[in-house]
Symmetry: C2
Subunit: 168 residues, 2 copies
C-alpha cells in the first residue's frame, strides 16, 4: 500500500471510530491528520487535506484544543497559526478519558447519588426494583470513576504493567 493511501485509510478509520463513540467525525479526522503529520499544519493545509470549509476547520481545531489534544504553534516571522497534535498515545488516552469523565460520567454520578437516596416502602416491589438497579449501577459507575482517577494519575508503564500482572 502507498503511504498516501495508508494515511487516507487511517484518517477514515479514526473518523469512523470517533463518530461511533459520539465524537464529531470531522474533529476525529483533523486529529488523525495532525497525528500523522510531522510538522504543525495551518488551517489552510487542513482545509485542503480534508476538503472542508474554513469555518469547519476552525471550529474543530478549537474543539481539539479544548480537549487538550492539539496545540497552537507560532513560527518566528510568520503571521499564520500552526496546529500540532501531541503524539504520545498514552497522553491522548488519558486526555480523552479525563474530558469524558468530566463531561459525562461526573454528571451522571451526581444524578445516581441523588436517586440512590430516594426513600420508599421496602414492601413495594416497584420501589425495591428501582432502588436496587440504581444503587447497583451507582456502584459500578463509582468503580469506573475510581479506575479512571487512577489512570489519570498513572504512568503508562505502571498502569498497563499492573493491569497485566492481574491478567497473567
Amino acid at each position: 500500500m502507498e503511504l498516501a493511501e495508508a494515511k487516507q485509510k487511517f484518517i477514515e478509520a479514526w473518523g469512523k471510530l470517533g463518530s461511533e463513540w459520539g465524537i464529531n467525525r470531522t474533529m476525529a479526522q483533523v486529529h488523525a491528520l495532525l497525528l500523522i503529520s510531522p510538522e504543525a499544519l495551518t488551517t489552510e493545509e487542513i482545509m485542503e487535506a480534508l476538503s472542508i470549509s474554513r469555518g469547519n476547520a476552525n471550529m474543530n481545531l478549537r474543539d481539539l484544543i479544548g480537549w487538550g489534544l492539539v496545540e497552537k504553534q507560532h513560527k518566528a516571522g510568520e503571521r499564520k497559526e500552526y496546529f500540532f497534535a501531541d503524539k504520545d498515545t498514552w497522553n491522548i488516552a488519558r486526555q480523552v478519558a479525563k474530558e469524558r469523565k468530566k463531561r459525562e460520567l461526573d454528571p451522571v454520578l451526581r444524578v445516581l447519588d441523588e436517586l440512590s437516596k430516594v426513600k420508599g416502602d421496602e414492601k413495594d416491589i416497584e420501589y425495591k426494583t428501582f432502588n436496587k438497579s440504581v444503587t447497583d449501577i451507582n456502584k459500578l459507575a463509582k468503580n469506573v470513576d475510581k479506575t479512571l482517577e487512577t489512570m489519570l494519575k498513572a504512568e503508562e508503564n505502571w498502569f498497563w504493567g499492573s493491569i497485566f500482572k492481574i491478567f497473567k
Copy 2:
C-alpha cells in the same frame, strides 16, 4: 423526591448518557424503563410509558435483544409478548463491552494491523511519523482488547477485586 419522578429522572439520565456514547437515546430509555420494572412489559406499556410510537418501540426492542440486554417472555395463556431486562449490572457491562468490541474495536484493529505493515523509507520523516503513530495506537488498542477479553471471561468479584487490589 417521589418514586415516579425519580424513575423519570433515571430514564432521562440513562438516555442522555447513551446518546453521548453513540447509542440511540430511545433505545437507552427503553432499557432504563425495563431495568427499573419488576415485571416484564408489553410493547403497549412501553409505548405508553415513554410516549413513543409502536414502530419505534418495536425497533428499539429488537435492537436491545440484539445487544443481548433484553429478552422476550411469553406468559401462559397470553398472546402478547413481554419484554424483560437482565438486571445484573455486571452482565450488562460485559454485554455492552462485548458488543462494542465486536462492532467497533475489532474492525479498527484489523485496519491498524494492516496499516502497521505498510513499508516505507526510514529516512522519510512523513513515513516515520505515520508509522510511529499507527504502531503506537495499535499497541494501545491491543492492550484494551486484551483487557476486554479478560473482562468478558471474568467473574465480577474477581475482576473488581483484582483491579482494586492494585489501585489500593
